[in-house]
Symmetry: C2
Subunit: 281 residues, 2 copies
Amino acid sequence: MNIISSPKDMQSFADQARAGGRVIAFIPTMGYLHDGHLSLIREGCRHGDEVVVSIFVNPTQFAPGEDLASYPRAFERDCLLAEGAGATTIFSPAERDLYGDGYQTFVALEKLPFHLCGLSRPTFFRGVATVVSKLFNIVKPHVAVFGEKDYQQLLVIRRMVSDLNFDIRIIGGPIIREADGLAMSSRNSYLTPGERQRALCLSKALKQAEAMVRDGVSGAADLIDAARKIITAHPDAVIDYIEIFDPETIEAVQTVDGPARMALAVKIGTTRLIDNTLLLP
Amino acid sequence: MNIISSPKDMQSFADQARAGGRVIAFIPTMGYLHDGHLSLIREGCRHGDEVVVSIFVNPTQFAPGEDLASYPRAFERDCLLAEGAGATTIFSPAERDLYGDGYQTFVALEKLPFHLCGLSRPTFFRGVATVVSKLFNIVKPHVAVFGEKDYQQLLVIRRMVSDLNFDIRIIGGPIIREADGLAMSSRNSYLTPGERQRALCLSKALKQAEAMVRDGVSGAADLIDAARKIITAHPDAVIDYIEIFDPETIEAVQTVDGPARMALAVKIGTTRLIDNTLLLP
């Protein structure tokens, strides 16, 4: 497996792969890989001859006071895990190589970020769209895989790719969960054993909504209220949002009379967790 | 010569050219070509096997009240002129193909636009950076050529290319002037015969500053005052700005003790003209 840190070297590698007719699949990550990432890498293997995984904790998507400094890192373990899942190349740039002196260019969307996570993290999606644009120009993939766990991010990337004419096919990979239902996340490592137990309220609230919709409940307010009750049963759980929305526009829906997405963000102690699911009436 | 209007077709054409080992040079224009554009196309021919000229009057770089609707157009003449200068392909997308329903993604710089033309046209460089990013992703060039006439634009593009890791070499082409000194511009076509004559005050003011610097004058305020006198001699000339600045950062300089750039924007009647020159002490 190749490990490349220089953007120029990565571009040369991509040029050679493309000149040789090889298809490049790309999975951008912030490292500290778990089975969710590995499922995206395996999905990438189904589409590309070269499967490039980037590992970069992107500073521009963290706001002051967020967990940039403490974000978990395990580079050597990540390389082994990625290789085991089929990655052929790791791209792991230094921060100064992506954001050098005088850096000043940002990619921003005008509508999709003004919902859900974008409301409590107002510069988050600008940071994501910017670093993903940069990584696309460096890795030059034909296909890129993003997880549905970060559902709003997936929509932002799809919209950005369409709007800016990136010639890249975007594939969404399903949420991977622990045996007890908790959506996998690098940030789960922050949880104490007690918090880890209480964090199940996110997936339980979503499961309950799925069941209610199957049973014929269609009022978004009723579904959200029921989810809220599950979560507020834990005194150290603080809800950021619980929303039910159109899966393409993220506009809130009042009635689940077609496929809708339900998403929530909850702080368990000091750790902010997100999860989402498809509601199918 | 090929004429391509679909972004997807242009991308396929670029992929084929690249797969065949051909180098793509790109000259983005808003059409109504003059000798300035043709000199950029000829420069492109020195660098590329495929020389792609885009013709697209980009709505996102015009503010309400500016001359989007009246911007001069002459598509068939442009094709003949571009071909004569060596272009192999014209890319001329429809507006709806670049800015479709729900379009919402913009590329913006945080420092360079807050000078010169960016002050009186606050969304101009956002529109330029956005459309050029799109065109780069569609035309997939190895090399792109921009004129020094739009000097601030050239700096914005260079910075954006570096910041967003576009793997594209940017080449600046010199200002081409009419025999009497007027910098060529598609907007010169707006000038009445009398205005055309008075428009010479821009190049005359710059020529005088060049001469003063050669004669040992180094105070930026003195050079700007002298230029202002030439321009305000015409009652229908309204100065937007006259600035002397660092050629890389566009920060104003007080003293011309090394290479500096002098730029000005002046309204002659209803037509806003720009020009600039290098001051070499």
